[in-house]
């Protein structure tokens, strides 16, 4: 045992942190599962488990774009939306063919990730040429465009396959699909997807978070990841040493979009009814708040922030109308406190090992 500990301590610090992150997620999963089987979790908390997993995955994937690539994206909910609705279409249309829920869920999440990656590639190719706030506004614009396009989409399914109608004029309905008698409408324009079979589960959420961590952490610690961070720190220097900026930026952006798509598919299959307007600008901002509060580039920080900030409004439920107000005040105070020099010095004093490490430098 001590030999193992020694081996662990001799690893690089980043590797230790990564293992600790994996271990923390597994431990949290085991504890929550045990608590759930004991019946000591409230119903409202159980209902939050899958969304928390989705938000964790969203936060980690956005951290790849914002923290590690260093580009501000305000349209992350758009990719989630693409993943959610494509996942719902796959799951609903294959319900007869693949009755096994987990298999269908995995397939839906895969297709969701694939489509979101495709959209990410389409958006990223032109947009990543822009920088800073201009990139931010364009990603915001894309998020809004995706929301409106999905809002206009009517999709149904019968034995002949999928039927699509694009509701440009605003007066088309499900009847325009021309479905046969035993066909079903899956997405009904502005009404969104209704009657979806909810096949999402907490275990699937756990696997998604682990998968996201695995992808993001391995990418970050690889050669490509170091290239991406070099671009973040100084893109001119990175270009000068021969890094292909577009390639690495796209790599990070598309990976982030794909993971958001998978999270979206799980999220979509957790609710029997879902509208495209759910994935609006505020959701993108919510995920961005997780990333910034958790610390840019800090993966476990994103996980904790996502879980804490999803539970916070629920924990404040007793304050009813005041809970969002308290949430806003907490947000402002945390931002002010974490950026205050005196508060920073105070936190440093609380962490003695970090101070010792600095003295060694």
């Amino acid at each position: 045992m001590t030999k193992k500990m020694k081996q662990f301590n001799s690893l690089k610090k980043t590797t230790r942190v990564d293992f600790a992150t994996y271990f923390g997620v597994i431990a949290a999963f085991v504890i929550v599962t045990v608590l759930q089987s004991n019946g000591s979790l409230k119903r409202s908390v159980i209902g939050l488990l899958v969304p928390i997993c989705c938000y964790m995955s969203m936060a980690v994937s956005l951290n790849l774009t914002v923290g590690i690539l260093g580009e501000l994206s305000l349209g992350h909910a758009g990719f989630m939306s693409v993943g959610a609705f494509s996942g719902i279409v796959v799951s609903q249309s294959l319900a007869g063919l693949i009755p096994n829920g987990p298999v269908r869920l995995a397939l839906s999440m895969f297709v969701g990730a694939l489509l979101a990656a495709l959209v990410g590639l389409l958006i990223g190719t032109p947009v990543l040429r822009l920088q800073g706030d201009y990139l931010a506004i364009v990603t915001l614009a894309f998020g809004e465009i995706i929301k409106e396009l999905i809002n206009c989409l009517i999709i149904g399914c019968d034995e002949k396959g999928l039927h699509f109608v694009f509701n440009l004029s605003g007066n088309k309905t499900v009847d325009d699909l021309g479905l046969s008698a035993n066909g079903t409408a899956i997405i009904k324009g502005a009404q969104g997807a209704t009657g979806t079979a909810t096949i999402a589960s907490f275990t699937a959420g756990f696997i998604l978070v682990m998968l996201t961590l695995f992808v993001v952490l391995n990418l970050t610690r690889s050669r490509a990841g170091r290239a991406i961070m070099a671009i973040r720190d100084n893109h001119i220097a990175a270009q000068a040493i021969g890094l292909n900026l577009t390639k690495y930026k796209l790599l990070a952006f598309v990976t982030s979009a794909a993971l958001a798509g998978a999270a979206g598919a799980l999220f979509g299959l957790n609710y029997s009814s879902l509208q495209a307007t759910k994935f609006n600008f505020n959701l993108s901002i919510l995920v961005l708040v997780f990333v910034v509060l958790g610390g840019l580039g800090n993966i476990w920080g994103s996980l904790i922030a996502a879980a804490a900030l999803t539970i916070l409004p629920e924990a404040l439920r007793q304050f009813a109308d005041f809970r969002m107000l308290i949430y806003a005040i907490v947000l402002i105070f945390v931002m002010l406190a974490t950026n205050n020099p005196q508060a920073k010095a105070f936190i440093k004093k609380l962490l003695p090992h970090r101070r010792a490490a600095e003295k060694e430098d």
Binding site: V66, L72, P126, Y134, F142, L168, G170, V289, L331, I332
Partner: protein
């Protein structure tokens, strides 16, 4: 005739966007921050004028002035409490704080004035008929357009001629150098927030008169669109914000009239993306190449 009436409604909507965008662009030019709470200051302006007119029974013009005063004070207070401590913090921290302020304002409004939409009668009513009655132009449209033009000209003169305006330009160029020249940077930034918020109040009254309704989320979408307009015209540039706002309003009105109501916002945003890809600094923005 139909086209003209769409054009006029587009221009008046665009004028509202332009007034909001002017506030956005001035704050961005100096503080280099995206003030996401700007849209909610608009909403507060709307509610204050609404209360002044209906609960206090004040005349419309006094109500508008009251909204301007309240929003100006609010802008200065927000800047002092939330943004000033973060002057040297990373820009994302400021962005998240601005979002926190935005949530705070929205939820305070929700608590004070409740979620239900209030019907907001226009501050001026009536319309003028031209071309032998074929074309009706409401007074509120005329008021909006003229207010926008007056504000644009006044702001341009203020920024280029007055001492405070010069200080603002100096601060936006280089804060440290401005301070060395004896400019009070904090006071200048506060003044910018004050002007931006005063404009937001006027925009709030005009926007509510235009939509004839008011609720706690009234400001968010116009806020985002005005931000888009500011970027469209070249953020940091006053004529750019004016042009961007007008174009955005016209495109939105035309898209609603001739293409699709459902996709109007998408078309606006798509035009923005195309413009930014062709001119990465916006229509009138200065492109500053990075020095190595």
């Amino acid at each position: 005739m139909e086209f003209l009436s769409y054009l006029i409604s587009g221009i008046s909507l665009g004028s509202v966007y332009a007034i909001i965008a002017l506030g956005y662009t001035m704050v961005y030019g100096i503080a280099k921050m995206l003030n996401f709470a700007h849209g909610d200051v608009i909403m507060i302006g709307g509610y204050v004028s609404f209360c002044a007119m209906f609960y206090l029974g004040l005349p419309n013009i006094v109500a508008v002035l009251m909204a301007v005063v309240v929003c100006t004070v609010l802008g200065i207070v927000i800047e002092r409490l939330a943004y000033k401590p973060l002057r040297s913090a990373p820009s994302l921290a400021v962005l998240i704080t601005a979002i926190g302020v935005s949530y705070f304002l929205q939820n305070s409004a929700l608590l004070i004035w409740k979620a239900a939409a209030r019907s907001y009668p226009p501050v001026v009513t009536g319309a003028v008929k031209i071309f032998g009655g074929k074309l009706t132009v409401s007074y509120i449209s005329l008021l909006t357009i003229s207010a926008c033009v007056v504000i644009m000209i006044a702001l341009t003169l203020f920024v280029s001629k007055s001492k405070m305006g010069k200080a603002m330009r100096a601060c936006s160029e280089d804060k440290a150098a401005a301070q060395l020249m004896g400019i009070n940077v904090n006071a200048t930034i506060s003044a910018t927030f004050a002007i931006g918020s005063a404009l937001a109040a006027i925009a709030g009254v005009l926007l509510c008169s235009f939509n004839t309704s008011l609720m706690p989320t009234t400001g968010s979408m116009p806020g985002i669109k005005a931000f888009t307009a500011a970027v469209f015209g070249g953020i940091g540039s006053i004529p750019g914000a004016f042009l961007g706002g007008l174009l955005l309003g016209i495109i939105e009105a035309m898209a609603k009239a001739y293409i699709s109501t459902n996709l109007a916002n998408s078309i606006v945003f798509a035009v923005l993306i195309v413009v930014l890809l062709v001119k990465p600094a916006g229509l009138l923005g200065k492109y500053v190449p990075e020095k190595v």
